[in-house]
Structure formats: C-alpha cells, structure tokens
C-alpha cells in the first residue's frame, strides 16, 4: 500500500513532465499534421538553458533564494526556447509546406540530430549534474514496515507549476483570439486564410507555445532529476509522443491525460515488474496504441480525403 501511494506520487510527477512535452507534439500535429520529431530535443535544449542560467544566477549573481532563482530561470528558459522553436519552424518546416508528405518528418529528424549534436559539441558529452536545489520532503504517513511515504517539495513544485501553466494555456487556447485563430487553422487552413487569419503567424505561434511548454518541462526535469545530458531528449521525446498518441493526437486534454497515464505506467512497471524493461513497455504502448487505437482516448477518428 505504501509503495503504491509512493509510486502514484512519483508517477504523477513524471506524468506532468510528459504531459507538458506532449502538448507540443499534439498542437503541432493538430495544426499542420506533422510529427515534430525534434520536439524532444527542444526539451533537452531547454533543460541545458535552464541549467546554465541556474548556475549564472546562483554562483555569479549570488541569488540565494532557490524559489526566486527557479522562477527567473523558468521565465528565461521559456523565452529562449521559444526563440529556438520559432527559428526551427521558420528554417526547417515552413519552406516544406506543400512538399511531399514525408519531407517535414525527414526534416524534423534532421533538426533532432542537429540539436542533440549541437549541444554535444557546444557543451560536451558528459552528464551535467546540478547542485541539489530543493531537497526537503514531507513525510505523509509512516508505513507499518517502516516504509515512509514521502512527498518532496520538488514534486509539489512540479505539479503546481504544471497545473498553473496548463490553466493559463487552456485559457489562451479557449478564450483568446489567438486560440480561436489556432483552432480555425486546425480545422481548415485554407478557409482560415480566406477569413483573414495570418496562417503562417498562427503556425509560428503554435511552435512558440509548444517550445515554451517544453521549456517548462525541461526546467522541471532538471529540478527533478538534477542531471541532464545531450541525449536526454530522445527517450522522453518518444514517451511524450506516445502520451500524445494515447490521449488522441490533436486533443489537448488528451495529451495531459496521456502524459499522466504514461508516467504512471512507467513508474508502476519499474516498481512491480522490471526496471530494465520500462522503456520497452513505453515503446510497446506506442506501437500497440498506434496499431489498435490510432485515434487514442479523446481523438477524432481520421478521415482520409482524396
């Protein structure tokens, strides 16, 4: 029982991170129908940006309050990663609109290879550990066998930040004119353009929002694990994509639900079955969902138009 509750907490934390990344996949897929393969590496890049700014703030500027430092790092990482997201869309995807179907995916794979190797060349191949940021835990209840169920401040921060940002983002997509333009482009790009929506700008903004949320995930990942390396983008990227597919690709609540489910499955699998095969489990879910339930939990079935 104690193990179950503990794993539930861990799983939800991990799931929030996956959910944040998954939103980037699902939005881009919704609006231009491409799998943004490079999104996982954007997430990794943002973790590096966060790491460097965290070091600048704590060691050079001498900010001692960790919460303040984290807040500033989060804002800066979101801004700079958004710039990357914008630039990637502008360089690698926009010229390909109207090209053959696999072109954007191949281009995205190119961007993904570029980003991970760019970070490797720029920052070195070794794992980068951060100084421990938030170490305290709250012991929720003590188990009979001496096993404590603990909720760490890190986990609280991650879940709260995720929840707040998702609410803000939800408001953005549902209530603002930007969100309306985005949903319009998702439904029919040509018609949206005829009605005076700047489609290119809307698509750019989609990438910017996706990258900003990936930056939140990157910062939280750094906070949670305290270590990042140049190839950390690939596996979380694929898992977040799995989450997006599981939730129904194109659906925003689906992405979050999918993320939480994947996070829970991964932690429970590690706890009860074998930790070695946790990635195999995640990849298998991806394959199984795509084969048997391609529209996911909340997605619309896809109609192929000729």
């Amino acid at each position: 029982m104690e193990i179950f509750v503990q794993q539930l907490i861990n799983g939800l934390t991990l799931g929030s991170i996956y959910g944040l990344i998954a939103i980037g996949y699902t939005m881009v897929f919704g609006i231009i129908g491409m799998v943004n393969f490079a999104h996982g590496d954007v997430f990794m890049l943002s973790a590096f940006i966060a790491l460097i700014f965290f070091l600048i703030l704590t060691t050079w500027l001498g900010i001692s309050s960790i919460v303040l430092a984290l807040f500033i790092v989060l804002i800066i990482a979101m801004i700079l990663t958004s710039l990357w997201g914008w630039a990637i869309e502008r360089i690698a995807y926009r010229p390909l609109r109207g090209s053959f179907r696999l072109a954007p995916l191949i281009s995205a794979i190119g961007v993904s290879i570029f980003l991970s190797n760019f970070v490797q060349v720029a920052q070195g191949a070794r794992n980068k550990p951060t100084p421990p940021m938030v170490g305290d835990v709250i012991v929720l209840f003590q188990g009979a066998s001496g096993y404590n169920v603990a909720l760490s401040y890190k986990q609280i921060i991650i879940m709260v930040v995720t929840a707040v940002l998702l609410t803000v983002f939800w408001y953005l997509v549902q209530k603002t004119s930007l969100g309306r333009a985005q949903r319009a482009c998702e439904q029919d790009r040509k018609m949206a353009a005829l009605l005076g929506i700047n489609v290119d700008r809307t698509i750019s903004l989609t990438f910017v929002i996706g990258a900003a949320l990936a930056a939140v995930a990157g910062t939280m990942y750094l906070l949670y694990y305290g270590v990042v390396s140049f190839n950390d983008g690939f596996v979380p990227g694929v898992k977040a994509f799995t989450a997006a597919v599981l939730g129904g690709i194109g659906s925003l609540p689906g992405a979050v639900i999918g993320g939480l489910i994947i996070g829970l499955i991964e932690t429970f699998w590690s706890a009860y079955f074998s930790i070695e095969y946790k990635d195999v489990a995640a990849f298998s879910i991806l394959a199984i969902v795509l084969i048997f339930m391609p529209s996911g939990i909340l997605g619309r079935p896809e109609v192929e138009k000729v």
Partner: protein, 473 residues
C-alpha cells in the same frame, strides 16, 4: 548555426526580386536582424560552456565564439541576398533559349553521367585494393584504406537495402538498424553456439532478418507515413533494449566476442599449414583477410543493387513505385497494398540482415551499442541525400557521408585552422542533421533527382524528378 541565415531569406529574397535590383540598405538591415537572432539562439548554449571540476559545475564564457558565428551568419546572409538579387535580375531578362526548352531531345546530363560514371565507379570499386596497394606501396600500408573501403561499402549496402523500403516503396523506416542487428546477432549466436560457418549463416541471417521484417511489418502496415515511421522507430529501440537486457541469450551490454572469422570457402586465413596463404603459396599476411572481406562486401553490395534493379522491372517493383506515388490510386487499381508493403519490408530487411552478418564477421564482436537509433539515422541520411530511389545517388552519398569525415580527419591544415585536437568526426552528425534539413528544403528529390524510368516503351525519355509527385498515402 548558419542555417538561420540561409533560410530566412525566402521573404526578403522575393521582395528584392520584385524590385529587380539589389537593395543594399535593406539587405544590411535584414542581415543584422538575422545576426541578432543568431545571437539570441546562442545564448546561453554557446556563450557559456559548462565544465566540471569534482562535483561542481562552473561556467566558461566564450563570447568570442558567439561573435565569430554571428559575423559569419551576417556575411552569409548578405551574400545570399546579393545572390538572389542577381539571379532574379538575370531571370527578368528575356532568355534566348526560352522557347526551345527540350525535354526529350537529348539525353540529360544524368544519363550522360551514368553512361560513363557507373562503369567508372564500378572499375574503381573492383580494383580498389590493387590501386591502394600500388599507391601505398605495400599490403600493410594499405590497411587503413582497405578498412575504410569496407566501411563505406557496408554503408552503401545498407543504403541500398533501405532504399528498397524508403526510396522505392515510400515507407519511412526509422528502425532499419533492427534488421542489421538481427543479422549480426544471428551470425554471432549461430556460429558461437552451433559452430556453423559463415557461409551457412549468411543466408540464414538474411532469412531471419526477412522473417523479422515480416513479423514487425505485418501489424504496422495499415498505418500511414509518419505513424509508420514512429512505430518502426519504436520497434528498433525495442530490439536494442531487448538485446541489452536479455543477458542469458545475448550477454547483454558486454556483447558477444570471439565470433569465428570467415573462411575463404573453407580455407581459414591463418599462418599455419592448410591456411589460405600456404595453400596458394603466398607469404602469410593479415591483409589477405581484409582484402577478402573487401571483395565479400563488394559482392554483397552489388548483389543488393542487382536484385533491386531486377525487382524494379518486375510487377512487384512497379507496384512499390506506384505505392510510393499514390497509395489510394494503387488500392483502387487492385494492388494488394499489404502484400506489396510486406515484400518491400522483408526484402529490405533481408539485405540489412546480410549486411549485419557481414558486420559481425568483420568485427568479430557485436554489442547492442552498435545498433542504436543514430545508426538508423545515418543510413536514412544516406538514402535521403542520395535522392530517394536513386541507386548511384545512394552510393555517392555513402562515400561522401562516411568517407568524407575520415578524409577530413587526415587533412593536417584543418588542425592549424581550428587548433589542434580538432576532430571532424565530432561534427559529422551535426552536418548530417543540417544536410538532411537543407536537402528537404532545397532538393527534396535528392542530389540526383533524375529518375530513370523502370520500364521503357520504345524510346528512352528523361523524366525530371520534379514531374513526379509523391502521393499522400
């Protein structure tokens, strides 16, 4: 990092084209803007390097590097503006040849090149060890070059194998390395456990890989393009993770070592009596085995090419190409798309398996780390840059992408420019990534975009790649 400079040109290039002259002020302004964006992108990932001492990380500022990169981006952007403006100006002049643009009249440059180029390349490939022997003046001196030749040919073969799946059938397979792994482990396990010889294991490895191609291919073939790609990626990773974790069978991450070497049709390459050297009355030299391996992989690669070229003319090959162009049209014409895709998957996988068992016999050692996603990405980069579907293009791309960094490494003047310790191999994948994007943006049909028609009625006509449109299957 130069990529932003090059591609944001699309807008401004058009505006200056409309005016027909080169607007220096606007170009400067735009170049400055691009440089500014580059500056933004390089903060902080380029401007601060994290170094580790003990448990602590500290930062090394490198603003000089950022300044250099921004300056390069600025300059490139300006040059690009000048270039597009001049080209636009030249285009606006009436062309004397405009009306006489002939599509069918003469054999295209590609056809001319292929008439002389293919025998030339083939000749070089066949005589490569001899040429190297003559140039380097000895067997032992040519070891490095023959080794490089083997490496390149392995990738040529893998590229041709993947080309069947990606280039001909239009199925993006991101897990091709799984079949390479199946081939390598089949040989490694069969030879170490049952003592089977390479010549028995080679076809077995191919068959096993083809079988796995069918097993993995069967459930995923209903999926459309990009989903298929992701699922094959997942399968590739699953195979690798299973190889790592199933230690009873595969010895896990430590890999399988001391795999028996190939024999020359039963004659081992050993120094003693009954070996290759003594049977043929030669002085023993380890290079005999290398040269034998070179010809072995050359033969395997040529077999791949030969089979592919033949298959393209058969109904199944034509169905592949039709499938690539338009899946819905294919289905409505009564082509069984599942079988067609499955054969492409299985045959591509089979050649991957051959290449894998060759890899195992060359290395004498296999471990799961040789079969990660990057390997798939490199093979895919070779196929994409060679122009999907073009055999000679794939071969050239393999030579450039695999041989290029090796040759760059031996150029000493690069070290004096970039400082000692400069290793082009570090930048290899970086350039691959940029190359894949650039390829899709500028030449989505590959460097050699001309397509040879597979079947010809009466006369040979050149078909430009731009006339063939990839479908939305």
């Amino acid at each position: 990092m130069n990529a932003p400079a090059i591609t944001t040109a699309a807008n401004t290039g058009k505006t200056s084209a409309a005016e027909g002259h080169f607007d220096l002020a606007a170009a400067l302004k735009d170049a400055a803007k691009t440089a500014l964006i580059t500056l933004g992108l390089s903060i902080p990932i380029l401007s601060y390097k994290t170094n580790q001492s003990g448990a602590d990380l500290f930062l090394n500022p490198r603003w000089g590097l950022v300044a250099i990169i921004c300056a390069i981006v600025f300059g490139l952007r300006l040059v690009l503006h000048a270039f597009t403006a001049t080209r636009a100006y030249r285009k606006s002049l009436p062309s004397p040849h405009q009306a006489t643009e002939a599509v069918h009249a003469e054999p295209s440059a590609y056809q001319k090149a292929s008439r002389f180029g293919i025998p030339f390349f083939l000749g070089i490939a066949l005589t490569f060890p001899i040429l190297i022997y003559l140039i380097q003046g000895g067997l032992n001196e040519s070891r490095y070059w023959v080794d490089l030749g083997i490496l390149i040919l392995t990738y040529v073969m893998l590229g041709w194998g993947l080309n069947i799946v990606v280039g001909l059938a239009g199925l993006l397979d991101l897990g091709y390395v799984a079949f390479y792994a199946v081939g390598a482990y089949s040989y490694a396990l069969l030879s170490t456990t049952f003592g089977l010889s390479f010549w028995i294991c080679l076809p077995l490895a191919g068959i096993l890989a083809a079988l796995w191609g069918m097993i993995l291919g069967f459930p995923v073939l209903r999926l459309r393009g990009d989903y298929l790609a992701i699922v094959t990626l997942a399968f590739g990773e699953i195979v690798r993770l299973v190889l790592i974790n199933w230690t009873d069978l595969t010895n896990g991450g430590a890999g399988i070592s001391s795999i028996p070497r190939a024999t020359f049709f039963g004659l081992p390459f050993t120094a003693g009596e009954g070996g290759f050297a003594s049977t043929f009355g030669l002085e023993f030299n380890g290079m005999h085995r290398m040269i034998f391996l070179y010809y072995l992989i050359l033969a395997l690669a040529l077999l791949t090419n030969f089979v592919t070229m033949r298959l393209r003319k058969l109904p199944v090959g034509r169905a592949w190409e039709a499938l690539r162009e338009d899946e819905i049209a294919c289905r409505s014409l009564g082509i069984n798309t599942t079988n067609t895709k499955l054969t492409a998957f299985a045959i591509g996988a089979m050649f991957g398996g051959f290449a894998g068992s060759f890899f195992a016999v060359r290395q004498g050692f296999v471990s799961p780390e040789s079969f990660n996603f990057l390997e798939s990405a490199i093979i895919l980069a070779i196929v994409v840059m060679g122009g999907m579907g073009s055999q000679i293009g794939v071969a050239i791309a393999a030579i450039v992408l695999v041989g290029g960094p090796e040759i760059l490494r031996n150029l000493n003047f690069l070290q004096s420019v970039f400082g000692t310790g400069f290793d082009p191999n570090e930048y290899r994948l970086l350039l691959f990534g940029i190359g894949m994007v650039a390829m899709m943006v500028w030449r989505p049909r590959g460097l050699i975009s001309e397509r040879e028609p597979s079947v010809i009625l009466k006369e040979r006509k050149a078909i430009s790649g731009s006339l063939v449109k990839e479908g939305h299957g």
